[in-house]
Symmetry: C2
Subunit: 257 residues, 2 copies
Amino acid sequence: MDDDAQVALPPGIDLLWGLRPRPRRGPKPTLSLDRIVAKAVEIADAEGLGPLSMSRLAEDLGFTTMSLYRYVASKDELLTLMMNTAAADVPVPSDPAEGWRPGLARWARETLVLFRRHPWALQIPISGPPLEPNNLAWMEYGLRSLAGTGLAAGEKIGVILLINGYVRNEARLSGELAQGMQQRSSAQPTPTYGQALRRLLDPEKFPYLWEIVESGVFDDDESYGDAEFEFGLERVLDGIEALVRERSAGSASADLG
Amino acid sequence: MDDDAQVALPPGIDLLWGLRPRPRRGPKPTLSLDRIVAKAVEIADAEGLGPLSMSRLAEDLGFTTMSLYRYVASKDELLTLMMNTAAADVPVPSDPAEGWRPGLARWARETLVLFRRHPWALQIPISGPPLEPNNLAWMEYGLRSLAGTGLAAGEKIGVILLINGYVRNEARLSGELAQGMQQRSSAQPTPTYGQALRRLLDPEKFPYLWEIVESGVFDDDESYGDAEFEFGLERVLDGIEALVRERSAGSASADLG
DNA sequence: CGAAGCAGTGTACGTGATACACAGTTAGAC
DNA sequence: GTCTAACTGTGTATCACGTACACTGCTTCG
């Protein structure tokens, strides 16, 4: 009648929270979970998720493929562990006097750094809200900034998800762009986005798009930089500020009663 | 010295724009590209991208696996074609008198419908900006609303990408939630997000998250609905409105000279 | 009318994830 | 101290999947 192992957790989550019993007998392990995950992250950082196969990973570690399965139940589980590791560069506790807005902005920038450092983290298929300890710590970090705002619980989550979504999207866009540039500098001649559109588009059928193409914005590779990120972030924060003001006004009058 | 086939386009793009020569001799085809892509979309809509294998697809069509390769160069190409088909429910030309804000809001809602209908479209690995005709038409549709705003070309693109990103994120979130609910109703007992967090979290290490957990928002499956979408959308549009106002004020004074 | 080009098929290969059984190793039970 | 269960690293095997290649029979153009 213990309720500990009652409900199934997604693969790898129990391991991350130390809920999986450690082996007691047997030979000293030569490999280790940490080394496996670290190497996997290293490969994914450098070459993406595609070239990361269990055999490739094992080879880079100097072991056989199957040895990895002594530490990891499946590749799926490995990906979960990698996700947790990617979020391990845990942000410093922010100054409590910092306002919610600079706090969230800082959170957003650090999240962007995370996704730039580990672009594959955007492509891991996610089956639900995060349960990895480091990812939850990251969320906690964001929530801390909202503590004094008087927002309802659901609203706080909404704000966190909104910003996280914004950052993810920016990271994805700049990642795609970087990928395009990389391809262009490689062997086969891939055209610029602007070049491709000029060749394909019928100006009469796509007048508005054509106008943009003609402006030349699509021709330089440098489009999506930090300035765009900061600008969009401010827009999103503006929207949140409206909500915060509304709530703090309401709760202030209630508190003053 | 023709410059037509000079530069390489991503796989499938040439086909979509009618740039691939049609075969002249040989037996009458029994299969067709349209049927293949339609069936592929059907499978992906119903079961996701995972179960969509070339053999499964062929079987459902009543042909052999290899017959598909008479119409499609690779699975990658097939995915591109599917993407284009997903965006085929082309939006009606909007009333030109409609303001930019309701126009963009409508565009956002229709994009959300697209991603709800074809959740797999969010998971197709994208290597760059869209080149599929229907996806470009979709973009064009969004740009039309921005015609009278006086925004610069780069800003218009930024706005379009911002909204598209917001919608993608909301669709992803509600998709994940639906997936979780589906699993919960299946055989193995998967816990609610709230249940899982209650079991894993140390309230002292995650005080802010714990507060949310205690509030119960994580316990009902109904969290992410249309109300949240509309709310967040209005916030994003608020941010854009600020930009538009700034630009129209500037250009107005310039135009009046 | 004859051959070039093409549709659908069958076979085959390479890769990737992973189940399973085996040999050597180690920590406790007696 | 000894025995054995538990465990590590490995080799082998299987299955699913994407796709190259060669074959047969049909169609259309020169």
